[in-house]
Subunit: 206 residues, 2 copies
């Protein structure tokens, strides 16, 4: 094998992986979290064996597709938000994250079984959001009794509105607005103490 | 059989049913939605055959226990709320409903498979809540761009905070307070249009 044909093969493999990941995101959106890998291979115009060579288990494919989605959509939103003013950045970042989760809900559902993946991908997001919240509190834009533990719950509250809203609308933005108003109201009530997050309990009832 | 012993038998049967329903609520709280009927019979101190005679299917028992819970706890809260001032009544009723759902979460989980039951039991609740909201809007206490369609979503948002909060605390009240602040803020933002409820879509992703 010449040097040239080796390069050619590597470029081929990279193109295949990119096509497979793009196809995976499309197919999960169209067919839901249980979409068969064969449909993804067909859409990517690669043979099933090529797909299995790059992604031996469905979990590998889901993880790679989700990491790509975070790298392409969430990471730039985090960078943009941190570069600007605190409160507009906070609002923009929450909005981007819910929109992303809304678009990629099947991919997220497929990822639910993969241990620690969601936590791993969401840590940089919540770190950035917590920083923006503290800056907004220092600037006096946001009530100062909000805590970082509130943030995953706010996101959970917004996600909950997705399930009973027509998926073709952005109806959840209405509830984002009410929640943001509750976070910034000048006549804020005294809040009960923040409780630590406890993800392990009561999960069975979802 | 004498008239007296007939009465005696009916009184016995009524006592058995009451004991079974009380036991069912306790056992579901202690053991979760998949608790075996035998455990309920044992706690009620009746034989399994007595339990099956009154409730041939688990669904019958779950329905009766939930109806009892609504009659004993939710219906009085609705009556109290409607009798008083609009906004305190609204707040009290939401609080009571979330507390009830929190306490009876296993019963609700067991009821999830029973078609139309949840809708049937929640209609009087949402009707009352909608009436109180309109009264509070007429009184100028609440922002006037809220719609009845928002109410199930508000409850869903509060329920979502239960899943990652220590079940022995009332941590969800913190999020109720923020949401109520968002509903009453004097500097309210313009809300996006309310979307109709759409319970059938996206359910698979819960």
């Amino acid at each position: 094998m010449s040097l040239d044909s080796g390069r050619h093969l590597r470029a081929d493999a990279a193109r295949n992986v990119a096509q497979i990941l793009r196809a995976a995101r499309q197919i999960f959106i169209e067919q839901g979290p249980d979409a068969p890998l064969e449909a993804i291979a067909r859409r990517a115009e690669v043979g099933p064996r090529t797909l299995y060579r790059h992604f031996p288990h469905k979990q590998d494919l889901v993880r790679a597709a989700l990491e790509l989605s975070v790298a392409e959509d969430l990471a730039p939103a985090i960078r943009r938000a941190l570069a600007g003013e605190a409160w507009p950045g906070f609002v923009h970042l929450v909005d981007s994250a819910v929109e992303l989760a809304f678009r990629e809900h099947s991919l997220l559902a497929a990822a639910r079984g993969i241990d620690s993946l969601t936590a791993e991908l969401s840590t940089p997001f919540y770190d950035a959001l917590g920083l923006l919240l503290r800056r907004a509190q220092d600037a006096g834009t946001t009530r100062d009794d909000l805590a970082p533990e509130d943030l995953p719950r706010f996101l959970g509250m917004l996600f909950s509105t997705l399930w009973n809203t027509d998926p073709t609308t952005d109806g959840w933005r209405r509830y984002l607005t009410i929640l943001l108003d509750g976070m910034t109201t000048p006549t804020a009530s005294t809040l009960p103490r923040a409780q630590p997050l406890n993800r392990s309990t009561r999960r069975t009832n979802r």
